[in-house]
Amino acid sequence: MQNSNKLKFESPSFGKRLKSMIKVDFYRLFHTPLFYIMIFVSAIIPALVLTMTGANEAADAQTFTNVWQVVEAISGANSGAGLMDLATMCNINMVFIFVAIMVSIFISHDYSSGYNKSIFTVHPKKVDYVISKSIVGFISGACMIVAYVLGALVAGLISGLSFALGSATILNVFACLVSKIFLMAIFVPLYIVVAVFFKQKLWLSIIGSFAAGILFYPIAMMTAPLNSGIFNLVMCLVGGAILGVAFGALSTLILNKRDLY
């Protein structure tokens, strides 16, 4: 088949290069347990929060009375003083923390295993790596958001909690979830910046991602409440695109300017 080995060097187009990188990353994602563990964690956390808090509280003073509380708050429902409440902290925005762990492990293993040598030997354009990792991280994050909501709904059903949406509609909830997914376009590239900076140092990468992520968690809460509308969707889409591109450019710059090891 390939033993003629003629000295032909066809430069692959950007699309072809990116396609091959994305294929590798998805193959790796689905052939290692990391992705499945993170999906499981995303689904089990809201279920645990709902069932365990309910079991340890008096019936008249329950933290969670409605299943949507563990997903997200309605805009203006939380006062500034209540930001550290369990109900405020234990919601879908936790997924942005899980994604930080996943992206850090995914990239740091590229370095610690030495697999990056194989990647960068045949892929001199570092932007391919950054875009591919961003897409894979984004889709993983989206799956985690869906898993979280499904976990919360199933646990709520089992616990017998109310599903009443109050002033929000099911379309608002849908807009909220899509907005959260758009926000992944900020968080994933941000974590990639931290991960390529710390290379194989996994713990520094995770801590650094948390530290960087904290700056953006309030944005995730404020810009995509449970009663999100078209404005929230557009804001998250545009914000995600702009910051995602900016962080992607920063990661590419780091990779271009620094030695791999």
């Binding site: 091959s20 194989s118 045949v122």
Partner: protein, 302 residues
């Protein structure tokens, strides 16, 4: 055309120059033995060619194109230090990732092909971490062979291998260059093994290329010597030193350089009353040549 052409390459780490005005020319189709002491800059050069390090200055061209050209780099296979494989994944998964990385049409067929070349067909389902060192090195070679590379860069691929492992690796490398027309850049400290396969040599010292020669040139430069063992060594040494420019004593042997005919030495010493117990004509190998060159460089203070 040259497979690799490096001009005035510089690389420094925190102010320390690992490469300083380094030049290298590797012809297409050659097996280029890259030799040097530890820390001389061999691995740094190889990493720079593969784009794993960022050069401080200088120019690297692969097959006449800039080394960052995606078309050229897609045809480079490398095994630098150790195989870049995920330890908990199977051999097949690791190879599949590299095949997908290269966007190959039929990755399964390609994986079977490279596993056959390195004689590891039976290990595809094993976890990479469970393989022996020699097997891991062979998988590293297989990984570098995926996608029909025009240039193979192998950093110490035979280190840590047993005699049989070395033989297999040697056969694989010769097979690759003969049947797949790849150019191979190989660095190794095991000069005896390198000597058996290399067609060209490059000797690096303190970040500079001090000599590039073909195997034929090396052969002609490697001087003949006669090794002999006799009873009265002191007398033999003084007699031989009168007649020959370079006579050395090594353990219980006397080495007389640049003498093609041992019988002349036998005759000369016999006439002067020295009885020879053992005499053998020899040629210095790559290892001695390299050590001589390093000694000469040290004397010159380079």
């Amino acid at each position: 055309m040259n497979a690799i052409e490096i001009r005035n390459l510089k690389k420094s780490f925190k102010g320390m120059n690992a490469l300083d005005g380094f030049n290298m020319t590797v012809p297409v189709g050659s097996i280029y033995g890259f030799i040097g002491e530890n820390g001389s800059g061999k691995s740094t050069t190889e990493k720079l060619i593969c784009g794993l390090l960022v050069p401080t200055d200088g120019e690297i061209k692969l097959f006449g194109k800039d080394y960052t050209d995606p078309g050229v780099r897609a045809r480079v296979g490398a095994l630098i230090e150790n195989p870049g494989c995920f330890p908990n994944s199977s051999v097949w998964t690791n190879l599949m990732m590299q095949a997908l990385n290269l966007n190959l049409q039929n990755p399964e067929e390609e994986i079977r092909r490279v596993l056959k070349i390195v004689r590891m067909e039976g290990s595809a389902s094993n976890k990479f971490k469970n393989l022996s060192l020699g097997m891991k090195q062979r998988i590293g070679i297989a990984m570098s062979l995926i996608g029909d590379p025009a240039l193979l860069i192998l950093d110490e691929p035979i280190n840590g291998l047993d005699a049989d492992g070395m033989r297999i690796m040697r056969e694989i490398l010769v097979d690759i260059t003969k049947n797949y027309s790849a150019t191979v850049l190989i660095s190794s400290h095991i000069l005896g093994e390198l000597e058996k396969i290399a067609t060209h040599y490059g000797i690096i010292r303190r970040g500079k290329m001090i000599q590039e020669i073909t195997a034929e040139e090396m052969e002609s430069r490697c001087r003949n010597y006669v090794g002999l063992n006799c009873e009265d060594k002191d007398k033999a040494l003084s007699l031989l030193r009168k007649n020959y420019a370079r006579v050395e004593q090594e353990e219980d042997k006397i080495l007389v350089y640049d003498e093609e005919q041992p019988e002349k030495i036998v005759d000369y010493l016999y006439k002067n009353g020295v009885i020879i117990n053992e005499i053998k004509k020899n040629k210095i190998g790559l290892e001695e040549y390299y050590l001589d060159l390093m000694k000469a460089q040290s004397k010159e203070g380079k």
